[in-house]
């Protein structure tokens, strides 16, 4: 028990006085402290009186002890605080705080006015809540008696995404701490001293040249208008805020979308998501520009006399239904975009199987997803509920395959950095011989895909022989032991053997994680690599440490929903005639036993193709009828016979599944443009037009109820996992005839919207190599 302002309050061990007071609903002004950062004790506004302690301790740095008697507010404290604030405001433009006409002004101006410099009137880009104003109001500050000194620092506007006006900076240090302690970048620092102290990069270089990832974390913690997102600062207060998630990659950061005039204007990270309020430049800054383009597809179109002509939905649907009838089932194919929601993906695969009687459905990213799904389904082991990102933070070592996972302002970086601070060793394996190792990497091996695989085999050999009993209960134990025994270590080569020693030393006897992106599997036998990764993780006791970094926002979910040629929903093999009975009964149909994959379909395997996102047009062969369902026009539209406008992820509701198998809700923030519809609605309408039963869904929740019937392991929110069974090991042989394939560039697009092309600032970031 402690006493605050005469009230008895229970407290939690280890919390600070400030946190305890806040939890009890008692306000103490504070400007430099922040819930995610270590206390700093710089602003001295949070001072309190504590019985038995001298002077005025700062509550943000004082840990509560039993029996403390604390006073947070009395005339003496307020006076000191007012003095402190006045001092602070003598260097921070302050007319918006002390102006006599403040309240009228706030009523009449809906937001900041465009102005070159913030001089303190209503021009500050800090919106709605300004923490400095809050504190000033609390203290009843009406005048600043000190002479105001404008620092007259140059405005910094030459970097992408955000502007900096350090004349508004109060030197709270939050940006410095978030960048160094949370993001692990260290782009910002306190420089100079005494009254010349300021926040800057080394030699005042551009952020582009200072390792900034443009994650925006500094903008989000700044209590003043010193740091502001350029694209969103001028529209004033938002009409509404919608809690949702980002679909631009598979990390699945959660955001609150601010919208105005039926447009998403800004994406503010939510602290309750799996990345704890950290995101990347794409999610934080690119979404408005990416999705609000004036050229969004707004109307269905069909090709008449060689020209795409706008029509209404009914005409378009009738046309497609008629046309599709002309092709045999085997000659129709569907490409499922990895950016669809689970509901749309489920509906799409059901459409393929029930309405078209075909298994020709796949994702464009199947080179990467398919081997992963095979192994992961096979290894279906006990998977913890805390999620892979939390697991990552606890890792003792992290192997990263592919530099890109570090390079993006990647929302995984903070987790990797957190693990590193706790002592984890970070091992990067890539083949970019010229590039320097990123700063937080302990070991950087330059290996090709095949060499990496050999390295893994060597590690497996060592780990297993060090402790063969550890995995005794695993499925496939016998066969695995045999393959280890048969392994010819000499085949690995001297160089690799040396590396094996080195890496095994680091990872033996401890749990770790392996993160990999599509580049890591670029070879003729990608499954071998995924299998090896799983073996290593199982041998070190952490099968949950496998983290595939999918480029598509919902690659995981699309595969869970069965929108691939080899699986039905919930990973029932389409060749498994016993298990597919359940689906045949549920859907009232008989199911085809074979399907074509992405490559086969594009390469002339089908005649009619239904795309839910643009694919590279050059890859198409012999297509007679092409349907494009997307959000933007693209090159492939020249070949399309029908174009159907779809909603983007800010315009529809449903669920998506992130790389850690976390099912997350996305919620409609704004209306789609023109006649655009959510994908599942378009698919249902089409199915009904074709006279197919079972597509009368009333809502996305309705679809999800059916998904639950077919995918038993899924729940509408949270991590999904298979039932408990011991992990499965993968027997292996060192193959000699395995080829490395050329690497493909990372996928920075959301359906037909290319982020690099559409968002200038992102392009600049990429060109600098700092994405």
């Amino acid at each position: 028990m402690i006493t605050i302002n005469g009230k008895k309050i229970t407290y939690k061990e280890g919390k600070t006085v400030l946190e305890t007071a806040r939890d009890a609903g008692i306000y103490i002004p504070s400007l430099c402290t922040h819930q995610e950062l270590e206390p700093f004790g710089a602003c001295r506004l949070c001072i309190v009186k504590i019985e038995g302690m001298q002077g005025f301790p700062t509550s943000c740095t004082t840990v509560v002890r039993d029996g403390m008697v604390i006073i947070t507010e009395d005339e003496e404290l307020q006076k000191v605080r007012r003095n402190v604030l006045e001092m602070l405001l003598s260097e921070h433009p302050n007319t918006c705080i002390v102006c006599k006409d403040k309240s009228e002004c706030e009523e009449c101006h809906f937001g900041p006015t465009k102005a070159g410099r913030v001089t303190g009137c209503n021009f500050c880009p800090n919106k709605e809540i300004c923490e400095v104003r809050e504190v000033a109001d609390y203290l009843g500050l009406e005048d600043v008696r000190l002479l105001f000194e404008y620092k007259n620092l140059p405005l910094e506007r030459d970097d992408p995404f955000f502007d900096r006006d350090y004349n508004l900076c109060i030197l709270c240090g939050r940006c410095v701490r978030v960048c160094q302690d949370i993001r692990g970048r260290g782009t910002l620092a306190f420089t100079q001293r005494s009254h010349r102290t300021k926040i800057s990069t080394a030699f005042d270089k551009l952020h582009l040249d200072s390792e900034c990832g443009f994650c925006g974390a500094c903008v989000d913690v700044c209590p003043t208008g010193a740091l502001s997102a350029r694209g969103s600062k001028w529209y004033g207060d938002a009409d509404s805020c919608t809690d949702s998630a980002c679909l631009l990659c598979s990390v699945g950061c959660t955001f609150s979308f601010e919208s105005k005039w039926n447009r998403v204007m800004a994406a503010i990270p939510r602290r309750d998501g799996s990345t704890g309020g950290q995101a990347c430049s794409r999610g934080r800054f690119c979404i408005p520009q990416l999705l609000n383009g004036s050229d969004r597809l707004k109307q269905p179109m069909i090709r008449k006399n060689g020209k795409l002509i706008p029509v209404n939905w009914d005409e378009a649907m009738t046309y497609v239904a008629e046309k599709l009838k002309k092709f045999t089932n085997d000659k129709i194919g569907i490409i499922a975009s990895p950016s669809l929601t689970n509901e749309s993906a489920y509906t799409l695969q059901k459409f393929a199987r029930v309405a078209l009687h075909t298994n020709n459905i796949d994702v464009p990213t199947s080179d990467f997803t398919s081997p992963i799904m095979k192994t992961i389904v096979a290894s279906s082991s006990a998977i913890s509920n805390e999620g892979k990102i939390k697991n990552l933070e606890k890792a003792k070592w992290i192997i990263v395959l592919g530099r890109r996972i570090f390079l993006p302002s990647s929302a995984l970086n903070p987790s990797i950095y957190r693990a590193k601070k706790k002592g984890a060793k970070i091992i990067l394996i890539d083949n970019e011989t010229k590039a320097k190792a990123p700063r937080n990497v302990d070991v950087n091996l330059k290996l090709g895909v095949i060499q990496t695989l050999n390295l893994f085999y060597g590690i497996i050999y060592k780990l297993f022989n060090a402790n063969p009993n550890l995995v005794k209960d695993c499925v496939n134990y016998g066969a695995f032991v045999k393959s280890v025994k048969n392994m010819d270590k000499n085949k690995l080569g001297k160089d690799i053997s040396k590396q094996v020693e080195k890496i095994t030393k680091i990872i033996e006897n401890s749990k770790g994680c392996i993160i990999f992106d599509q580049g890591a599997l670029r070879c003729s036998n990608p499954e071998a690599i995924v299998n090896a990764i799983m073996n290593i993780l199982i041998l070190s006791g952490n099968p949950d440490g496998v983290i595939p970094y999918y480029d598509g926002g919902n690659d995981q979910g699309i595969c869970d929903m069965g929108a691939t040629h080899q699986y039905l929903p919930g990973y029932t093999m389409i060749s498994d005639s016993a298990s597919i009975k359940k689906f045949e009964k549920l859907w009232g149909t008989t199911l085809p036993k074979k399907g074509k994959n992405y490559r086969e379909m594009l390469d002339g395997g089908v005649k009619a193709l239904y795309l839910t996102e643009a694919v590279p047009e050059k890859k198409l062969r012999n297509i007679e009828f092409l349907i494009l369902q997307d959000i933007y026009p693209s090159k492939i539209m020249d070949k399309a016979d029908v174009v159907l406008p779809a909603c983007a992820f800010t315009e529809e509701s449903g669920t998506v599944t992130s790389l850690e198998r976390r099912v997350q809700k996305i919620t409609q923030a704004v209306e789609g443009p023109g006649l655009a519809k959510p994908d599942w609605k378009i698919i249902c309408d089409l199915a009904k037009k074709m006279g197919t039963k079972g597509f009368d869904y009333k809502s996305h929740q309705h679809i999800f109820r059916e998904i639950k019937e077919t995918v038993p392991f899924i729940s509408s929110e949270g991590i999904w996992s298979f039932k408990d069974k011991p992990p499965r090991l993968f027997p292996f042989t060192i193959e000699e005839k395995i080829n490395e394939l050329p690497s493909t560039p990372p996928r920075y697009h959301y359906r037909g919207a290319d982020i690099v092309e559409r968002v200038d600032d992102f392009r600049i970031q990429i060109e600098k190599g700092g994405a």
Binding site: Q180, G186, A189
Partner: protein, 156 residues
């Protein structure tokens, strides 16, 4: 430069809080802390160059611009201040067309302010390299600097 910097870091290996000493060594070697030197340090020490720069700029002993052939120091200590040190400083700044803390374009002079040289009786005082000039006036300043420029460093 990289290998030199590696050597310096080795000198202080495993010593806590060695950054300042390392920076001092680097400055001793190169005369100042260049952007390249700080980048190289950052890479070796695995901290960001911005952090290093932040620490370094906190101490007035570190310079970030290349020192000139002649180092001009103008004293602004109490005695010199009272006797017009600031006027001298302004004259020098105008004459060399730089501010204190900077180096002239032709790399001949760099200018610094100091607080008391320990010869207050001579105030105001200006020092060029190791030569002390006392009781100086604006006219003298010009002559002194011109001499250094002409004689390539020898005393008048």
């Amino acid at each position: 430069m990289k290998s030199e910097i590696k050597k310096i870091i080795k000198l202080f290996k495993d010593k806590k809080g060695a950054l300042i000493s390392i920076l001092q060594e680097v400055q001793k070697k190169y005369g100042y802390l260049s952007s390249e030197a700080i980048s190289a340090l950052a890479e070796e020490l695995k901290i960001s160059e911005n952090e290093i720069y932040g620490v370094a700029t906190f101490y007035t002993q570190f310079k970030f611009t290349k020192p000139g052939n002649h180092q001009v120091k103008v004293c602004l200590g109490t005695a010199c201040h009272v006797r017009g040190g600031h006027g001298i400083m302004e004259t020098v700044e105008r004459q060399l067309n730089i501010k204190h803390g900077e180096t002239t374009k032709d790399s001949q002079f760099s200018l610094e302010r100091v607080a008391c040289m320990g010869c207050c009786a001579l105030a105001p005082v200006m020092v060029v390299d190791n030569d002390i000039f006392g009781k100086i006036t604006s006219t003298k300043v010009k002559n002194i600097l011109n001499d250094y420029n002409r004689n390539g460093g020898k005393k008048q």
